[in-house]
C-alpha cells in the first residue's frame, strides 16, 4: 500500500514540477505577480511529496518488504537496521530518489527563505530549478522506478554489497548528493540572471551561500569516500583517480573556483560573465558525473550500448541542460558588463589566477576521464588513463596554485604595491623554505616530494597566519588591541584563513604519506617477531569469530616500539549472504603515524601472509579537509548572509552596511 503511495507521490511531484517550471516563468516575463507567486507553494509541495515518497521507500527497507523489487534485490532481513536504512540509497533507484529529494529540498529552501529576493528573480530561479526537477523525476519514474512490486515476493532478499555495510560509505552518498545537487542552485541563479541580463553584488550575495553549502557538503562527501577507501580496501590507498572519484572532483574544483569568483562579483562588481559561466559549468560537471556513474558507460562503451535506456535519458538531460544553458549564455553574456577598475597587481588579479588554475585543473581531470571513451568511439581502440597520468598532468597546477595562494590572498583590492603588500609574507617564506631544507637534510635518500610538500604546506599555513597577523595589526598596536581586532574580524575572514590552512594541512598529509610510507609484506609465523621501521611486529594468534551477518578470521598482532605497545586485530570477513570476502584492516591511528596491519591467507608453510604499513601523518589529509569544510562553514555564517541581503535598489556603492 505505502509503496503505491510513494509511487503516487512521485508522479504528483512530477506534475507539480511541470506547473512550477512553466507558470512562474511566464509570470516573470509578463510581470504577473500571482503567477510568479505560484512558485513558492509548488516548491514546498514538491518537497513534501518527495519526503513522503522517500519515507515510503525507507519504510519498505526497514520492515524488509520483499514484495518491493528494489528491497528484494538490495536488502536482507538479517542486515543491521542502520544498513537497512542506508541501503535505501545504496542502489541506483533509491539513490536517484534521494537525488530528487535533495533537489526539492534546495528548491523549497529558496522558496521559503527567499523572501528578500526580488519576486521576478525568485520566480525564475524556482522555475529553472523545477525544470531540472521535471527531467530527473521523469528519469526516476520512467527508467528507474524504485516502487515496482514483485509477485510472488521472495522469502528473503539478496542483501547489500558487504562493502557498503560500513558507516563511512553509508553516509558518503548523501553528502556527495547535497554537493552535486546544491550546485543546481547556482545554475538556476545563473540562468535567471542571464534571462534578466543582470548580475550585481546582491545576486552574488544570494548565490554564494548556496554554493558554499554545496561545496562544504561536497568536500565532506569526497573526504568520507577517500577515508573509507583508506581504511576499508586494505592497502591504505586514499585516492585512485578512478573515473567515479574524478566525477566528484571536477564539480569540486569548479565549485571552488566559483566560490572565489563570486567574491569578486560581490565585492568588486566585475568578473560577472565568467562567474555565471562557472556556475553553469559547476552544475554541468555534476550532471556529467551523474551520467558517468549512472549510465554504466565507464565499464565500457559496449555495456552502455547494451542497456542504453538510462544512459540515453541522462545524456539527453545533459545535452538539454548544458547545451541550453551555454546557448543562452552566448546570447546574453555580453549584457553582463563589468563596471569596476583594478590594476594588474590586485586581489582581483589574484582571484583570476586562482580561477584560471582551478578551471584548467578541472579540465585536465575531465579530459583524462573521458579520453578512453573518446578513443574508443573514434578509433575503436581501448586505452587507459590512470593515476600515473593524473599525478603527472594535474599536480603541477596545484603546485603553482599553492605557490601563488598566500600572495593572492594578502593583496588588497583594486591596486597594490607588490613590495609593500607581501612584506608580511617574507617571514613565512623564509621559515617554510628553512623547514623544507631541514626535512631534506634529515631524510635519508627519500624523494623530493617530502621536502617540497613541507615547504608548500607551511608556506600556505604560515602565509594565512601572516595575513591574519596583518589584519590584527599584530606588533603594531598593543597585544590586547590585536586580540580585540582578531575577535572582531568578520567570520568570512576567519573562514578564508581556516580553509586555506586546511588546504595546507591536506597537502602536508599527502606529501608526507606519499614520500615516507613504509610497507612490509611477508609470511608471518606465529610468535616470530620482525622489524618494520622501528616497530617490532609479532603475529600472536588467528582465530575464527562470528559476526551478526558474517564470519571472520581474526588475527592478533602486537607491535612495540620503545615504551609504545599496541595490539592490533586485522580481520578477513566472509559475508553469509553474498559469500564475498572483505578485509578489515587493523589501524592504530595517530597524529604522527598510522600503523596499518592487514591479514592475508594461510600459507603452505603454516604461517599467514601479513601486510604492514607505517603511514606517517596520513590523517592530516582528512584533518585538512575537515578544517577546509569548517572554514566554509564559518564563511557561511558570516554576518552579511544572516542579515537581510540588501534590496536591489540600494546596491552598488554603499553595499557594505547591510542593515
Amino acid at each position: 500500500m505505502y509503496a503505491e503511495l510513494g509511487q503516487y507521490a512521485i508522479i504528483l511531484a512530477l506534475i507539480i514540477a511541470v506547473i512550477q517550471a512553466v507558470i512562474p516563468m511566464i509570470g516573470a516575463q509578463k510581470g504577473w505577480n500571482n503567477w510568479m507567486a505560484l512558485a513558492v507553494p509548488t516548491a514546498q509541495i514538491q518537497l513534501i511529496l518527495l519526503i513522503l515518497a522517500f519515507s515510503a521507500l525507507t519504510y519498505a527497507f526497514v520492515v524488509s518488504d520483499f514484495s518491493v523489487r528494489l528491497v528484494a534485490a538490495n536488502s536482507h532481513s538479517d542486515k543491521p537496521t542502520l544498513y537497512k536504512i542506508t541501503g535505501v540509497w545504496g542502489n541506483h533507484e533509491g539513490s536517484m530518489l534521494l537525488w530528487n529529494l535533495i533537489l526539492a529540498l534546495f528548491g523549497a529552501a529558496v522558496a521559503t527563505f527567499g523572501n528578500n529576493l526580488p519576486p521576478a528573480l525568485r520566480a525564475r530561479v524556482l522555475s529553472v530549478q523545477a525544470m531540472i526537477g521535471v527531467a530527473f523525476l521523469a528519469f526516476l519514474i520512467f527508467t528507474s522506478n524504485p516502487f515496482l512490486r514483485l509477485d510472488p515476493a521472495p522469502l528473503n532478499g539478496q542483501g547489500l554489497n558487504p562493502l557498503l555495510q560500513d558507516p563511512g560509505l553509508a553516509f558518503h552518498p548523501p553528502f556527495l548528493y547535497v554537493g552535486y545537487v546544491g550546485l543546481s542552485m547556482a545554475f538556476s541563479f545563473a540562468i535567471a540572471a542571464l534571462i534578466e541580463g543582470k548580475v550585481d553584488a546582491a545576486w552574488a550575495r544570494w548565490v554564494r551561500p548556496w554554493t558554499l553549502a554545496a561545496w562544504i557538503s561536497l568536500t565532506l562527501g569526497i573526504s568520507l569516500g577517500s577515508w573509507w577507501a583508506y581504511y576499508e580496501l586494505g592497502w591504505g590507498g586514499w585516492w585512485f583517480w578512478d573515473p567515479v572519484e574524478n566525477s566528484s572532483f571536477m564539480p569540486w574544483l569548479t565549485a571552488t573556483a566559483l566560490l572565489h569568483s563570486a567574491i569578486v562579483v560581490e565585492k568588486r562588481d566585475t568578473l560577472k560573465a565568467w562567474t555565471v559561466l562557472l556556475a553553469i559549468l559547476a552544475f554541468s560537471f555534476s550532471l556529467i558525473g551523474t551520467f558517468i556513474v549512472r549510465s554504466g558507460v565507464l565499464t565500457s562503451v559496449h555495456a552502455f550500448a547494451n542497456d542504453p535506456e538510462r544512459g540515453m535519458f541522462i545524456l539527453f538531460i545533459l545535452a538539454a541542460a548544458i547545451g541550453g544553458a551555454l546557448t543562452l549564455y552566448s546570447l546574453r553574456a555580453d549584457k553582463l558588463k563589468s563596471a569596476s577598475v583594478f590594476s594588474t597587481i590586485s586581489r582581483e588579479s589574484g582571484l583570476v589566477l586562482n580561477n584560471l588554475l582551478l578551471s584548467v585543473a578541472a579540465a585536465v581531470v575531465f579530459v583524462g576521464t573521458v579520453w578512453p571513451l573518446v578513443i574508443e568511439f573514434s578509433t575503436g581502440e581501448k586505452v587507459s588513463v590512470g593515476a600515473p597520468f593524473f599525478d603527472l598532468a594535474f599536480t603541477p597546477f596545484m603546485v603553482v596554485l599553492a605557490m601563488a595562494l598566500p600572495i593572492g590572498a594578502i593583496l588588497p583590492w583594486k591596486r597594490a604595491k607588490i613590495g609593500r603588500a607581501i612584506k608580511p609574507l617574507w617571514g613565512a617564506l623564509a621559515l617554510s623554505v628553512a623547514l623544507g631544507a631541514l626535512v631534506w637534510s634529515l631524510q635519508t635518500g627519500g624523494r623530493m616530494m617530502g621536502p617540497i610538500g613541507i615547504t608548500l604546506s607551511s608556506w600556505i599555513i604560515l602565509g594565512a597566519l601572516a595575513d591574519l597577523g596583518t589584519r590584527a595589526r599584530f606588533r603594531q598596536i598593543p597585544l590586547s588591541g590585536s586580540l580585540r581586532r582578531l575577535r572582531n574580524l568578520p567570520r568570512s575572514d576567519w573562514g578564508k584563513v581556516l580553509a586555506h590552512c586546511g588546504l595546507g594541512l591536506t597537502i602536508f598529509g599527502i606529501s608526507a604519506v606519499t614520500a615516507w610510507e613504509v610497507e612490509d609484506i611477508r609470511t608471518a609465523q606465529f610468535g616470530e617477531s620482525y622489524n618494520v621501521s622501528g616497530y617490532t611486529f609479532t603475529l600472536n594468534t588467528v582465530e575464527q569469530i562470528e559476526g551478526p551477518n558474517y564470519s571472520s578470521l581474526r588475527g592478533e598482532v602486537s607491535a612495540t616500539k620503545g615504551a609504545e605497545s599496541l595490539l592490533l586485530y586485522p580481520e578477513k570477513r566472509i559475508f553469509n549472504v553474498q559469500q564475498v570476502p572483505t578485509t578489515e584492516a587493523a589501524i592504530d591511528m595517530g597524529l604522527t603515524r598510522d600503523v596499518y596491519v592487514v591479514l592475508g591467507d594461510l600459507q603452505d608453510n603454516g604461517g599467514f601472509a601479513v601486510r604492514v604499513y607505517i603511514k606517517p601523518f596520513s590523517n592530516w589529509i582528512w584533518i585538512g579537509t575537515l578544517v577546509m569544510a569548517f572554514g566554509g562553514l564559518m564563511s557561511l555564517f558570516d554576518r552579511r548572509y544572516r542579515v537581510a541581503a540588501p534590496s536591489r535598489k540600494a546596491v552598488p556603492i554603499a553595499a557594505a552596511p547591510a542593515e
Binding site: 542502489n91 554489497n161 562493502l163 557498503l164 560509505l169 552518498p173 556527495l176 569516500g225 577507501a229 576499508e232 586494505g234 592497502w235 585512485f240 578512478d242 573515473p243 567515479v244 556513474v293 565507464l298 558588463k337 563596471a339 569596476s340 577598475v341 583594478f342 590594476s343 594588474t344 588579479s349 583570476v352 584560471l356 588554475l357 578551471s359 584548467v360 579540465a363 585536465v364 579530459v367 583524462g368 579520453w371 578513443i375 586505452v383 587507459s384 588513463v385 590512470g386 593515476a387 600515473p388 597520468f389 603527472l392 598532468a393 597546477f397 609484506i521 611477508r522 609470511t523 578477513k572 564475498v580 570476502p581 572483505t582 578485509t583 591467507d601 600459507q603 603452505d604 601472509a609 601486510r611
Partner: protein, 147 residues
C-alpha cells in the same frame, strides 16, 4: 558511490602482492613493484596490478617478475606486456600522436586561458570607471525631461 564498489569488490578480497610471489632480490622486487603500478589489471576498472587481487593481475605480476629475473630492462618488460595485451594495459597513455590532445590540453588551456586573463586584466586596469547611468535610467531621465 555504488559503482566504485562493483570494481572494488575485485580488490577487496584479500591483498594483492602475495609473499610467495615476491623476489628475493630487494632491488629487483622494488623495480617490479614500481612497474606494476603503471600496468592495468585488465579485468578491473582502472586498477593497477599491484593493488589488484584478481587472478589475472597475479599472473601479470609474476610475468613482470619473470622478465626482470631474465634480465630485461624496465622498458623491455613494459614493451613485452604491451606486445601481448595492447596499450590498454598502460595506465599512463603513450606520448604519441594519437594522445597529443590528452597530453597537451592542460598546457594549451593554461596558455590560452592565461592570455585571455591577461587581456581581461589589462582592459580592466585601463578602463574608465563607469559612472554614467544605465540604459533604463537614461530612459527614465529622458521621460522626466519630456514631461
Amino acid at each position: 558511490m555504488r559503482y566504485i564498489l562493483v570494481f572494488l569488490a575485485f580488490a577487496s578480497a584479500a591483498f594483492a602482492v602475495e609473499p610467495s610471489e615476491m623476489l628475493d632480490d630487494p632491488v629487483l622486487e622494488a623495480r617490479a613493484r614500481e612497474l606494476s603500478k603503471g600496468l592495468r589489471c585488465l579485468v578491473c576498472l582502472n586498477e593497477n596490478i599491484d593493488d589488484s587481487n584478481a587472478g589475472l593481475a597475479a599472473d601479470l605480476r609474476i610475468l613482470v617478475r619473470e622478465r626482470l629475473t631474465e634480465g630485461d630492462t624496465d622498458v623491455e618488460v613494459v614493451q613485452y606486456v604491451v606486445d601481448r595485451y595492447g596499450e590498454f594495459v598502460l595506465l599512463k597513455p603513450t606520448f604519441s600522436a594519437g594522445n597529443y590532445i590528452l597530453w597537451f590540453s592542460g598546457p594549451l588551456l593554461l596558455i590560452f586561458g592565461g592570455i585571455g586573463a591577461m587581456v581581461f586584466i589589462r582592459r580592466r586596469s585601463k578602463a574608465e570607471p563607469v559612472l554614467g547611468l544605465s540604459d533604463e535610467e537614461q530612459e527614465k531621465v529622458a521621460k522626466l525631461l519630456q514631461d
